[in-house]
Amino acid sequence: MDLLTLSLLTLLLPLLGALAVGLLGRRLGRDFAYVMTIACVGGATACAALTFVQINFLKVPPFEVSLYKWLDFGVLGYQFEVGILIDALSSTMMLVVTFVSLIVHIYTVGYMDYDEDYPEENPYYQRFFSYISLFTFAMLALVMSNNFLQLFFGWEAVGLVSYLLIGFYMKRESAVQANLKAFLINRVGDLGFLLGIALVLMVFGTLNYGEVFAYLNENTEQVQSLQLSIPWVFGDVQWQMVTVIAICLFIGAMGKSAQMPLHTWLPESMEGPTPISALIHAATMVTAGIYMVARLHPLFLQSEVALSMILIVGATTAFMMGLLGIVQNDIKRVVAYSTLSQLGYMVAALGASAFVGGFFHVFTHAFFKALLFLAAGSVIVALHHIQDIRQMGGLRKYMPITYWCMLLGSLSLIGTPGFSGFFSKDLILLSVADSEIFGAGYAHILLMAGVFVTAFYSFRMFFVVFHGKPSDEVLKYQPKESFHSINFSLFALVLPSVFIGWLVVDSWIFGDYFTSVMGEGDESGGKHLAENYANGLALILHSPFSMPFYLAFAGVALAWLLYCKSPDLLEKMSNRFAKVHQILLDGYGFDRFNQWFFVRGSVRLGELLWRYGDVNIIDDGIINRGAKWVGGIASKVRLMQSGLIYHYAFTLIIGVMLLLGWLVYKNIVVS
């Protein structure tokens, strides 16, 4: 099949599944729901794999096609199209999205089967499958887009499905609170994104990637010198245009990829069912921001200021959010903060111009983080929806498969040499270490410290959940490995979590895999990567002589010491650092501030404006008073209509006299 057919099938099959199950699922039942969606997404995965093979192994040239005209102004100006762009970057991401989505679909069959809250006749099961297929479609639309408009379409559409899925348990107050919050915070980012798109249209006159980059390439200096004048109180302020564009677009990425300070929605998104936490809030949607920056990197490369900002935001998020992961007791929240922290790593990589490196981490992270979430979900199912790790413990004996999967996933996450996560994270650290832009030193320190923190919180959770003495709840429920579909999904993700980094690192980083898409200006692994290391193996061999290795080791060791070896020490430590602990539990107060300033502030402002603006001033002050005033005059004027003929006659005479007098005055006196 040719690329057009393949890519269209990849895009549309999940949509077909979503529509079929969404519209007919209630009538056709649960089995139909999962068979249909898994078949569709499976087909999409196969097509994506074929596309991937064609582009990456058969070296078919990148492929771009416009599907239809969304808006066409013809001679009057702009054109907005919907189209597809398939190259090394998008085909890789397509494969990741469809693959993880397929695994999550399969996992869901078992996971959602168990739910006391919803009776059999409620089509919530079908709805769930419909939603995740719909999400897959939206994410693919985002990834495969060849223009900014469709990117924004996909961007908002994944946000919509995320909203629906976070609030999936819609009877639960905390869930519907969380989805509203997620949507609104994302909207803040989207506003920046939209303005960025508008600026792109203004400068380049088109929203097509290829046309924008071609123009940028040919007129680099002219674009560099463009200034955006922003009217301000003291006259216009001049900003470099590309910097403003890059920062606006990045604000969008901050919303979707949950970078500080727009991160607070992600931990709460854990209110959604676990499969979607794995798919949406770990593997795919939240990495859309990183994908976007990598995709648009020619624009970002034009502005060092923007890159600095990206680097600093990313590194700060990576470290600060990692710290918060240490104090969480909800198993999903630990993984969520871990995701936040890892997203920070990816973003920091972008800031250091390591676009391939950042994307590499998106790629490996998709597998091991999905694995961690699904393993956590396995625990949650086995324990009848207990999520507090303090009520777990000693699960190793009860759930050996989950235990090993979680262990391998965690090892990959903390960057154990040879595991997938190792390559991508090491490359990010190398790139940032070599970067010379403003903030690089700061970022490097934080990211290094982050390695320790990552290892610590990952293994804290691991030890608390799987080692130690079983809690009362564990003894009560006697958890065991659950459905086959769950175990199958875990296996399917373990393999890439462990091996895929090694498989691809030579061609991606040391080879020319991404040269055509992101080669120019990319500094993954630092400027002298090729001189220092020959290939992936060299990276592994070098790792025992580098800091991150020992930092990760120290993190694991400390976790072991505190949570396995001597709990007394833990108690002492937490008493000692009670204040810090409190701050961390509080999440640095972001939520409290948002609640106070934005939520309560807006409502207060709205009430003020309504009461004093609309009701008091406009309605009572002007309209109703005006009406009364008119009424008052009317009641006076009415007196004139007395109905007595002599009154009218008298008025008439007076009037005629006045008129005559005025004419006489005008004619005699003036002339």
């Binding site: 009057l76 939209l194 009217p231 709205g606």
Partner: protein
């Protein structure tokens, strides 16, 4: 002479209304069917207009012109161009839905109610078709009567206050418009709108005429600070009344701005553009915050309408802040029109949603609800879809107009785009917060637990609206295609000076 299709379309609703009244003397149910099928037939007739429409020309099409009052050179003069055509189709479409939705919800004098809506449809079509200012004015004022009756008879508790307020506001504004027309007749000798477009006017004259028009249209659309009649009217109006009011009557204000203000007084419009832009931006933000704190669902949607109409006026007047920028100006103007059409669908859908709830619970108070989606899943689906389009989600028509206007406004002034763009957050906040409180959560109230999901009539109405909203979200091109020629012509008129030297 070919078939006078415009006259046919214009008067058939009124005839149908007559027929409904006649039938109602024998059987109410026959009368209802006559009304419903009649409105469908009228919509089909208006589609003929769409099919035969020539998109390559900015000329008025299907023109009919007959002397009406020769002494004052007043004509019965009808015609359609790319700006009025979408509004005509919107009107005929929405009328079907408003009649269908009344089917079950109006218990009192339903045939008369339906007849009034058909009569209203005639007058609305007249407004969008008239090419003679006096004819236009007659229709403009005439439609106050059925609307006044609909609110005044079938309305809520404070219906008298609301209907009088509605009447006075609109009437107050339009008087000045009439004076402006008469003034232009006085110097130009013609009431034809196309002649007025070409009538040379000095700046001072233009200024007076501009403000006269502004009062009429700003009240109608409505703009801050003359908007307070709208929430009251909506709250007291019956469901279908709110639908027509929000979906169509407001659009007459927007239509007035581009049919009269921009082309007739371009210099004054260019000079006073900042007033309109400022008020539009205030509408987006100030009204958005007010919508946030309303307890009555209808008030939220009413304020939301005002806020969304801010994009229409912003799109129309932002063109003066970027002279010579044809592509952005066209984008802005068409964005304004697209926003009008899209808001027609969305506001209708949302008012119908509230109607569905009100029919069952007799309350519009948010606090009385909670967890409705659990009890009424099909309804919940539609409501969330419509709420999302009200928050401007891409893939729904609500996104298209706002997107176009924001993109264009940025080229005029970064701040305007930023402030207008705040609707992304505020609009989503008030809409989805309402959705959360009404549809999500645990159904606690006893009355909620016994709610019945959608009846098939309600469902069909929602499917029709959802279809339009999603269709134009994914493929708005056919909508703007018909406008291009007329908008280009409008841009030409709106940006060429009329001052003699």
């Amino acid at each position: 002479m070919s078939l006078p299709i415009l006259s046919l379309l214009l008067w058939s609703p009124a005839l149908c209304a007559l027929l409904v009244m006649l039938c109602s003397r024998f059987s109410a149910i026959t009368a209802q069917w006559v009304g419903l099928l009649g409105s469908v037939a009228i919509f089909a007739l208006s589609m003929v207009l769409y099919v035969d429409f020539d998109i390559t020309t900015a000329q008025m099409q299907f023109v009919e012109k007959i002397a009406w009052i020769p002494a004052f050179n007043i004509h019965y003069y009808l015609g359609v161009d790319g700006i009025s055509l979408p509004l005509i189709l919107l009107s005929t479409f929405i009328t079907i839905l408003s009649i269908a939705s009344s089917w079950r919800s109006v218990k009192k004098n339903l045939p008369q109610y339906i007849a009034l809506f058909l009569l209203l449809e005639s007058f609305i079509l007249g407004v969008f078709m008239a090419l003679d200012a006096i004819l236009y004015y007659v229709f403009w004022e005439a439609l106050l009567i059925p609307m006044f009756l609909i609110i005044g008879i079938w309305g809520g508790e404070r219906r008298v206050y609301a209907s009088v307020k509605f009447f006075l506001f609109t009437f107050f504004g339009s008087i000045f418009m009439l004076v402006a027309f008469i003034y232009m007749y006085y110097i130009g000798g013609s009431f034809e709108i196309i002649d007025m477009h070409l009538l040379p006017l000095e700046f001072t004259e233009q200024g007076w005429i501009f403000w006269a028009f502004f009062l009429a249209f700003a009240v109608k659309i409505p703009m801050v600070p003359v908007h307070t009649w709208l929430p009251d009217a909506h709250v007291e109006a019956p469901t279908a009344g709110s639908v027509i009011l929000a979906a169509i009557l407001l659009k007459m204000g927007g239509y007035g701005f581009i049919r009269f203000s921009l082309p007739i007084v371009p210099d004054a419009a260019a000079y006073f553009d900042w007033v309109v832009v400022l008020l539009s931006l205030i509408a987006v933000v100030y009204i958005g915050f007010i919508a946030l704190v309303q307890k009555d669902m209808k008030k939220i949607i009413a304020y939301s309408s005002i806020s969304h109409m801010g994009f229409v006026t912003l799109g129309f007047f932002v063109i003066y802040a970027m002279p010579l920028n044809v592509s952005a100006s066209v984008l802005a103007l068409e964005g304004g029109v697209v926003q009008m059409i899209s808001h027609g669908f969305i506001s209708a859908a949302l008012f119908l949603c509230i109607g569905v709830l009100y029919d069952r619970m007799h309350s519009r108070n948010i606090d009385d609800y909670g967890g409705v989606a659990t009890v009424m899943p099909a309804f919940g689906f539609f409501a969330v879809l419509f709420a999302m389009s009200n928050s401007g989600l891409p893939g729904t028509s609500g996104f298209v107009g706002e997107f176009m206007v924001i993109l264009a406004a940025l080229q005029a002034n970064v701040w305007w785009a930023l402030i207008a763009g705040l609707t992304l957050i505020i609009g989503a906040a008030y809409t989805l917060w309402m959705v959360k409180r009404v549809f999500y959560g645990k159904p606690i109230a006893e009355k909620v637990l016994t709610l019945q999901d959608l009846h098939w009539i309600e469902k069909s109405v929602f499917i029709a609206l959802a279809f339009c909203i999603v269709l134009f979200g994914f493929w708005p091109d056919p909508l703007v295609d018909v406008m291009h020629a007329s908008i280009a012509n409008l841009f030409e008129l709106a940006t060429s000076t009329k001052i003699s030297n």
